[in-house]
Amino acid sequence: MLTVGATGVLRASWLLLAFPAFGAAVLLLGGRRTDRWGHLLGVLMPLASFVYAVIAFFTLLGETDRSRDLHMFSYIPVGGFQVNMGILLDPLSISFALLITGVGSLIHIYSVGYMSHDSDRRRFFGYMNLFLAAMLLLVLADNYLGLYIGWEGVGLASYLLIGFWQYKNSAAVAAKKAFIANRVGDAGLSLAIMLMFAEFGTVSFTGVFGTVKAGGSGVATALGLLLLLGACGKSAQVPLQSWLLDAMEGPTPVSALIHAATMVTAGVYLLVRSNPILALSGTARLAITVVGAVTLLFGALIGCAKDDIKKALAGSTMSQIGYMTLAAGLGPAGYVFAIAHLIAHGFFKAGLFLGAGSVMHGMDDEVNMRRYGGLARYMPVTFATFGLGYLAIIGIPPFSGFFTKDPIIEAAWDKGGTSGAILATCAILGAGITAFYMTRVMLMTYFGKKRWSAEKEPHPHESPGVMTWPMILLAVGSVGAGAFLILGQRFENFLGPVTGLPPVAHGIWSVPGEIALALALCGVGLAWFMYGRVPVPAEAPAGSFPVVAGRKDLYGDAFNESVLMRPGQWLTRLSVYFDNRGIDGLVNTMAALIGGSSGRLRRMQTGFVRSYALSMFFGAGLLVLLLLVVRL
């Protein structure tokens, strides 16, 4: 697909970034003066971006070559290294831009209600706008360096928003953990960019994708693996997954926007955007599929054991992004479906999180599902939208998840060989486990007897309109997005020019898909058997080994601590010890040496004039002797 310079309306595409950046600047620099109307500006800016994104989308649809590049400015004009900042509008980036601004605007509107009792609401909107600006830069940049700037920006925004309630120690620690885990991934991405510059002399997409063939498969494999490391950090894939569950310390709109719909999907964007590099390296693609498969089971197992509603949904997010990563590793057969699932997931997961927030709002900020029960009657709208999201995520036709998840399972199966069979098995198993834990969440929260906490005495009530309308609109997406994208190969044809078309056309129904659906229904049945028929205990019972493991995040934290943290601490303590005893000892010994010798030498100053005279006499005699010797 040919990329030409932007013309007409698209020349103003920098507005997509400028609106939220302006909002962030005004709200964060303006301070308390903007408190009264800050939230309104905070909502207006994403909406303005969304309006422009829609205009840009329809403008792009009218073109034959749907790829426009707007050159903004020259960022680094240094001799051999030229980096120009520009905005690339093509099907991939405009899809992301629509998702980010659309779902983002809905979540901003929801936050007006959710954060209405918080005195720092204006600062919250400032950070959220900052996040939107950085995320849009990430997906719209036309070079890897611009992408990296956005990448770092969303990491920063995530840190600021997870630790929004700074006075809570758990939130501050979680924010640090998220940032540090991200940083490890960022090292991978920055190494990839450095490698690109070293090998190709350029970091722009057109430059790199044009010359990557000349580098050979070794360079492509190295790049692919480094980009995978970056994606793991940002998207919470194994081995950098430990931060996502702790990130639930942030306010629920943050969890919905950043840790469900958008930021965690940046890794998938990176991999799909880099498809020309991945096309040259089978090793990298295999590694990506393995990471995806492992994570989708990992997240699903964690989600089964968590009693905290947000943590269960976070495990679900980890798992669904595992699906997307798995699809991204399958090559052109999977890229389209990865992004389609990403968009559908954005709708239903954001809807689920907003629903969880609505439940928490009504239950006095209680998150423990063992203290819920029977809420369907008290919160009908929340129950309905949450339920639609639930049906979408477990893959029941005709909701979104069915249309977007099944092609991934089929593509994995079609890969063939042992790897294809193993991947497809993992994906199908994951579907079953997903159905199980989501049904568990539904049953524990909305059905059954009331197990409400006696100390808090909540009075559950439906949330106000400013919170329910976004949930309703997201539920529309949960219902229809999948069918809209997949039926008639609509999204395949739209995204195909960027990623390559899937080689085999899939029907709606297929054998692996049907097995997955059957397993999902079994999962629903099992969850009903365990949680629907018998009353749920209000105190968590001592579980079997898998349950205990799941509650401890499958020992992810324990692993990080023992393998990375303790050796690191040991190393730093060793260095400190060596510095104190070794280096300081050396310096102090030298000083003591000089001090000691000076103590001895000063005894020469006796104060007796005659002994000084004797020294002078001897010196003079020595000089005369030397003169005589020279003469002779």
Binding site: G607, F608, V609, A613
Partner: protein
């Protein structure tokens, strides 16, 4: 009587003066011995001047005499000041500049 004999005498006088500076305790005696050393030098210079047949040595002897006079003035002034403070003319008693 060759000029070398005069130089020999100057050396003997110098050694006696040096020994006196090192051995004697009384400050005034030490000054006298320093004068003795200076005069021994003068004698040696004049003897060499006679040996070389020019007046360089004698001119230097004049300079040395002037310097010796000035030095005696200053030295005796210092000795007076120390004597007033310490009530003793022994150089061993002025030993406070020590470790």
């Amino acid at each position: 009587m060759s000029p070398l004999d005069y130089v020999t005498l100057a050396v003997i006088l110098f050694v006696i003066g040096a020994a006196g500076v090192l051995i004697r305790r009384n400050a005034i005696i030490i000054f006298m011995c320093i004068e003795l050393m200076l005069n021994a030098c003068n004698l040696a210079f004049v003897a060499f001047a006679s040996m070389h047949g020019n007046l360089n040595g004698q001119v230097i002897a004049f300079f040395v005499m002037v310097v010796a006079a000035a030095e005696v003035v200053v030295g005796l002034a210092i000795l007076m000041a120390v004597f007033r403070a310490r009530k003793s003319a022994s150089v061993d008693d002025a030993n406070l500049l020590k470790y």
